[in-house]
């Protein structure tokens, strides 16, 4: 490509991904070792890898270097990577012991003989790390090819993980279904990428942003580019499990084993959302209305994209919640709930940067941690070496495992938005962002939906705690490893305690600075076209001015046009 990217900062920025990738190679090698002790240390090794990557971000990541390396939103990149790594550690922890327990159970029952070479399969964790690595690469993509490869790197290992997570036929079916539909969605957004390339004449996101800003100034994005964007959004919907590409989710989530379901409901989702955010940045998802030198007001998102997202948001929330109401299987219910939460998060995307940005990040954190608590508890249980997945199987387990029932209850409370748990604050931010951006109708739809969701989340609280133990819950015992239960416990504690530190956490995330071609546009305080009654622009500017963190970013945003 035309622009020269220096190697030094690029490596510095990518160091965490390099560590995770190296870790995945290491894990797959150690996983083949003869000594069982060494093989058993594989999850620990994976966790250490992720911790090392976290350290690399904390020490080595600088927004300037990332900007130099062509990263469009350096701070966003950093936060997304951190979230992925932290939740990733939990996801590794809840899958410990899971792949092998069927085997161990069969051996314990005498159904088969012990085969040391089939115990502890390290490659599972290698795939997990690869997928995490792919998700981490997305928010920092400088061009479309990179974005495409990163999205594929996120998805491909998950297909294998679904297939190997359980020995049942349903898992195979789920994997095949997931793979084919995933390939189709890839085709959809790849076609979108191609059209965007055709319209913009470049694969570099920076250049695309410049081209589309110019196009918007002169009357709007051409049909080719717009079609490309709509196709991309639809393709990403598959990763988000958002309508109209959500149909696979219940079957796949049900077919995969519990920890893998937990993985699927978070990592592809955060990957999809960062890809969506990244792509929308190139067409005005900037939080600032921009005014060209000729005086044309350039509003936030172009109308067709806004309308598409609006419908996706409303449909996803509603279909997800209605679907979840009807389920008998916990995992199908959680799949639909995951769809519904994607819908809420799309609201944050629509609300745009400023509050929308923070709402999205906060919601992702909240959803990731809460998911860990629920899937940690579910993965900590087993029935004859198999997953616990129907509501009947959970009935009355609070009497035997009060801790696990409590994690489930805290998790569902947080998902339904019960104050003072984490999910409530996330929803509060989301509603604030939505109302501020002038999308009160969507917020009301979201509010009704979160009230509807109470019904099925209450079952997840009520069935383990109040139902008498029945025949189907008899054989339910603790899983072989205590890691998942421990991870669930930690996540539940975080769900309860994190709100008290939310202030500090958000304070850090406020100072993201989307880098834009400052030469052609300058930000002004204008009411946008799509939001006639509200003034998000002004509001966000005031927010920026109030925060000491962002003075520098603000300086960069406001002053650069004059300087140039």
């Amino acid at each position: 490509m035309s622009s020269f990217i220096p190697m030094g900062p690029k490596v510095a920025v990518l160091l965490p991904e390099i560590i995770v990738f190296g870790g995945s190679v290491l894990v797959s090698i150690v996983g083949l070792n003869r000594s069982k002790t060494l093989r058993k240390s594989v999850p620990l090794l994976a966790v250490c890898t992720l911790l090392a990557a976290l350290v690399a971000i904390a020490l080595g990541y600088s927004n300037e270097a990332a900007e130099q390396a062509g990263v469009l939103m350096p701070h966003f990149n950093k936060i997304i990577k951190t979230i992925i790594l932290v939740v990733g550690i939990g996801l590794v922890a809840i899958s410990v012991g899971h792949i092998d327990r069927r085997m161990e159970d069969a051996v314990a029952r005498g159904a088969t003989t012990f085969d040391p070479m089939r115990v502890v399969r390290g490659e599972f964790y290698a795939f997990m790390l690869l997928s995490i690595c792919g998700a981490m690469l997305i928010p920092g993509s400088p061009d479309l090819i990179w974005l495409f490869l990163a999205l594929e790197l996120t998805s491909l290992p998950t297909y294998i993980m679904v297939a190997m997570s359980r020995g049942t036929r349903r898992a195979q079916e789920a994997a095949v279904k997931y793979f084919f539909l995933g390939a189709m969605s890839t085709a959809v957004f790849l076609y979108g990428f191609a059209l965007i390339y055709g319209s913009a004449g470049s694969l570099q996101l920076n250049t695309i942003q410049k081209v589309f800003s110019a196009q918007i100034e002169s009357g709007g994005i051409d049909t080719l580019g717009m079609t490309g964007f709509i196709l991309c959004i639809l393709g990403f919907c598959y990763k988000l499990a958002a309508a109209p590409m959500h149909f696979y989710a219940p079957d796949v989530y049900e077919g995969a084993s519990n920890p893998v379901t937990g993985f699927l409901s978070f990592i592809p989702k955060i990957a999809g959302f960062s890809a969506l955010a990244l792509l929308l940045t190139t067409v005005g998802w900037t939080g600032h209305s921009i005014i060209s030198e000729t005086g044309t007001v350039v509003s936030g998102l172009p109308a067709p994209i806004l309308a598409t997202l609006w419908m996706i948001c409303a449909l996803t929330m509603t279909l997800g919640n209605i679907g979840a109401l009807l389920q008998k299987s916990v995992k199908r219910m959680l799949a639909y709930s995951s769809i519904a939460h994607s819908g809420y998060m799309v609201l944050a995307i629509i609300a745009g940067p400023g509050l929308g940005f923070e709402a999205l990040l906060f919601y992702l954190i909240s959803y990731g941690v809460t998911n860990l608590a629920i899937f940690g508890a579910l993965s900590g249980l087993q029935k004859r070496g198999e997953d616990v997945e129907r509501f009947e199987e959970l009935s009355g387990i609070a009497r035997r495992y009060p801790g696990l029932a409590a994690w489930l209850a805290i998790g569902s409370g947080s998902l339904m938005g019960m104050p003072p748990l984490l999910g409530f604050w996330a929803k509060l931010m989301l509603f604030m962002a939505g109302i501020q951006a002038g999308h009160t109708p969507l917020v009301i739809i979201a509010a009704i939906n979160s009230a509807v969701s109470v019904w099925y989340y209450l079952r997840l609280i009520g069935v383990p705690s109040f139902s008498p133990p029945g025949t189907s819950s008899e054989g339910v015992i603790k899983g072989p490893s205590s890691w998942p239960r421990f991870a669930g416990a930690v996540a539940a504690v975080v769900v309860v305690l994190l709100p008290f530190f939310a202030s500090r956490m958000l304070g850090n995330s406020l100072d993201f600075s989307p880098v834009r071609p400052a030469s052609t546009v300058k930000p002004v305080n204008t009411t946008t076209e799509h939001v006639p009654t509200e003034k998000p622009t002004q509001a966000f500017d005031t927010a920026l001015q109030r925060s000491p963190h962002v003075e520098q970013a603000q300086l960069a945003l406001h002053c650069s046009p004059t300087r140039l």
Binding site: W425, M432, A447, A451, L458, S465, F466, S503, Q538
Partner: protein
């Protein structure tokens, strides 16, 4: 600092209960709630604004989402403080009333009870919208567990219905609050959720239409919680199925969260929205009073009868609130306190009967005065208080609510015009007769007449329950303080009314002008309206 102690004591006792033995749980809960009561009493004595209105202590602390103005700010005015006192007064009695009724999962029961106490106190004491909402909403969780574990045979559906109805309403309340906060941010430039700031902003800066929708949003939640007439469907089942202690708290305090919300948020925040809806809600109040009285009349289950009577009584509160004059609002606040006392006590009485006879069916009980004179004495007192007999507490609120509605006309010379008509009060007053009818019929059936006891050997059950035929000392000690309070408020309500008055006037500060303007639009000009006030509202 005593205000934080007030919130922490229940939480600390809940933690201690979790770590203690099941047998000790009830005593720890009782001591914890008594300690909370003492702390609240000290707080009330220190409170300087009894007669002047205003909030105390006015501190801003513990930012949770500091950037967005969400601070844990604790403070009360005399209305909040009265409800706080009601809460800490009823809770130890409800706990003591549960001693013999709760025999399983004792630790969990009392721990949830203390958490319930903490969240109710948070809701009444918070000066921040979000923390009010946190307390308001979190009461659902302990109540959900109390009903689901220790409730009657229909406890599952009852708990779920209760939870979903209330949650559904309160998300709209939250949306309305956020809307006001966002509008505040848009025009002022700072985030805040402090009630005082938002009320001031919303009542003066928002347009007619915005105020209308804010009011509708807020009322959706509060109307379901109170409950107003068409949204009461969750209440009978929840009250009926809850354990005695749960019913006492549910009827005595949780329902007041709804009317407190109307008083504290909906009315002051959106005066223009409120006057638009006044007629609608006043009519709903009257329907509640009359229709629910008729429903009560045909009940055979005592607990259900009292539950439906709560909806009917809340109708009076609604009417008083929407009279939009000081008399009506004072009456509404008084009614909130008095209804808490008398209905709470009635649920305790019914619980004592249920523990002895294991039935709540009026057809199976009768003439208990000959067997349980002490119980009958208390039952009669509380029923009469609920009926609104002059000299007992129920009368004060009921009379003031009706009087408020009666004088809520457009041409009131007293300075507080209203949008209602004397006919509203006249029709609502029929509820007094109906109320006396169904409550006295209940009394006649179970207290007087020939002795009827359920089939089976009641005495054998007494032996197993270790309860005497009539009330034991503990039960008398539970009921007596409430009876004394009922009598005291009924005979001399003046201090309470005086304390409420400044707060009420603060709530109504924007109303005379807004109402005059609204009435003028309808062609009803107030001859006594000060001219500059009309101008100010335009």
């Amino acid at each position: 600092m005593i205000q934080y102690l007030l919130l922490l004591l229940p939480i600390i006792s809940a933690l201690i209960i979790c770590l203690s033995s099941p047998r000790a749980a009830k005593w720890i809960a009782f001591i914890g709630s008594i300690a909370t009561f003492i702390a609240a009493a000290i707080f009330a004595v220190q409170f300087p604004h009894w007669m002047t209105g205003g909030f105390w202590p006015d501190l801003r602390t513990a930012p949770i989402l500091g950037q967005f103005g969400v601070d844990l700010q604790i403070g009360v005015d005399s209305v909040s403080l009265m409800l706080v006192l009601l809460t800490v007064f009823l809770t130890p009695l409800a706990i003591a009333g549960s001693f013999s009724a709760i025999t399983t999962h004792m630790r969990e029961y009392y721990a949830w009870f203390m958490i319930l106490l903490a969240s109710m106190l948070l809701a009444f004491m918070s000066r921040d919208m979000i923390f009010f909402y946190v307390g308001y909403e979190f009461t659902l969780i302990p109540m959900f567990f109390l009903i689901s574990i220790w409730g009657g045979p229909m406890r599952g559906p009852a708990a779920i219905k209760f939870f979903i109805f209330t949650f559904l309403g309160s998300v709209f309340t939250l949306a309305a609050v956020i809307f006001v906060a966002v509008r505040h941010f848009d025009s002022v430039g700072t985030w805040t959720f402090a009630i005082a700031d938002l009320v001031k902003f919303s009542s003066t800066q928002l347009s007619d239409k915005e105020q209308f929708w804010v009011f509708v949003g807020l009322m959706t939640g509060f109307a379901i919680k109170t409950p107003f007439f068409p949204t009461h469907a969750w209440l009978p089942l929840a009250h009926d199925q809850a354990p005695t202690g749960g019913s006492v708290i549910l009827a005595g305090i949780l329902l007041k969260l709804g009317t407190y919300g109307v008083f504290r948020f909906a009315l002051p925040m959106a005066p223009m929205g409120a006057v638009e809806c006044t007629t609608f809600f006043a009519i709903l109040g009257i329907i509640a009073i009359l229709y629910m009285s008729l429903v009560c009349w045909v009940q055979t289950d005592i607990k259900k009868l009292i539950a439906y009577s709560s909806v009917s009584h809340m109708g009076f509160v609604v009417l008083g609130l929407f009279a939009l004059n000081p008399i009506g609002l004072q009456g509404a606040v008084m009614y909130m306190v008095n209804h808490g006392l008398s209905t709470g006590a009635l649920f305790l009485c019914i619980g004592m009967i249920y523990e002895r006879y294991h039935t709540k069916d009026m057809d199976q009980l009768g003439g208990l005065v000959s067997k349980m004179p002490v119980w009958s004495f208390f039952m009669i007192i509380f029923t009469l208080s609920s009926v609104g007999l002059p000299g007992l507490n129920g009368f004060v609120g009921e009379f003031l609510c009706l009087m408020g509605a009666f004088v809520a006309e457009h041409d009131q010379p007293a300075g507080y015009p209203g949008v209602l008509h004397p006919w509203y009060a006249v029709v609502a007053a029929l509820g007094l007769i109906l109320g006396a009818m169904y409550l006295l019929i209940m009394l006649g059936k179970i207290v007087w007449g020939t002795l009827r006891e359920p089939h089976g050997d009641a005495h054998a059950e007494h032996a197993t329950m270790e309860l005497p035929t009539d009330l034991n000392f503990r039960e008398i000690a539970v009921l007596a303080p409430i009876a004394v309070a009922c009598l005291a408020i009924g005979l001399y309500p003046k201090p309470l009314l005086d304390a409420v008055e400044p707060c009420v006037k603060e709530v109504l500060v924007n109303y005379p002008a807004v109402i005059d303007a609204y009435n003028a639009k309808r062609g009803l000009v107030n001859p006594t309206a000060p001219v500059q006030k009309v101008e100010a509202s335009q």
